[in-house]
Symmetry: C2
Subunit: 175 residues, 2 copies
């Protein structure tokens, strides 16, 4: 068996620049969308004001934060040709060695602050579930090697039974 990772190990391997190919499957219409983007992930300080603010919103103790980071992305979709850019702050708060909460100032399915629950499987897949008012998101991320990772994201109806979109990203590290 491989050595198991905790959230700190996972964030360490995520830091850096990535070139991402993302395919979105809109299941109801059997429609494909292709998005090419660059993603930059960098550490931020646990005492960063934005980290402290997020902890306040979710009534979490900032002393329990581990490896907060920020993601910046810049992508182009073949659907509408639109360029999307954004940045989000992610704040892990472990509740066990291989599980915890993840606060973020902007969710994937809706653009409001969100809190998700994560855990790691025994083969170091990071699994994140986030429940929103009208939707639920489930994300799995795993590394093929230090320079290639895969991410599958599902957007479900809020009850969690129906899948609305399924998307897949292959991410290659950029030097």
């Amino acid at each position: 068996m491989v050595a198991r990772w905790d959230i700190g190990d996972f964030v360490d391997r995520t830091i850096g620049g990535w070139r991402s190919q993302r395919s979105v499957h809109h299941l109801a219409f059997a429609h494909f969308e292709a998005v090419t983007s660059t993603i930059v992930v960098s550490n931020i300080s646990p005492t960063d004001e934005r980290v402290i603010d997020l902890c306040k919103i979710y009534d979490c103790n900032p002393d329990r934060v581990v490896s907060p980071f920020q993601m910046t992305w810049n992508g182009e979709s073949d659907w509408d040709g639109e360029i999307s850019q954004g940045q989000t702050i992610l704040v892990p708060i472990p509740t066990g060695q291989y599980q915890g909460k993840l606060l973020r100032d902007q969710g994937y399915a809706e653009t409001i602050p969100a809190v998700g629950e994560y855990y790691f499987t025994e083969d170091n897949t990071f699994v994140l579930t986030t429940t929103y008012d009208r939707a639920a998101a489930e994300e799995k991320i795993w590394f093929i090697n230090d320079n290639v990772r895969c991410r599958v994201s599902l957007i479900k109806t809020s009850g969690g039974s129906g899948v609305v979109t399924a998307s897949f990203s292959s991410e290659i590290r950029q030097n």
Copy 2:
């Protein structure tokens, strides 16, 4: 925790007709390929002549075969507009409760008989690795619910370090 599946449980849930959306990421060129297909999976008898023949090729005892099945697919790619059709026989041979060998009469990366090694993770993801002469394939399949499943397939260089293509299928059960 959910109840863990063995290969018989997994094959039972796979039997039937599926509509598949598959996105192939050719990583070197950042090229996207979209394939829409239908897949029909059905049980075959452990005493089927094709099962016995495959066991002979790989010097396996046919008495140890569990839940052999066949897959038929019919797909169209947006890359070359080509219609691809095919059929393959898959023959599981457990070596433990959650692991074993999978014989098939036609591989994914090369069109020759192939033998792969599978195991199930604790969250019922089926993981299959197959080593070919000039490539290695790694496939993960998991069910979101009884009617939706996801499949990620990687084709690697034979050494296993480089990823050549990464593909993702979302599969919806057809009535």
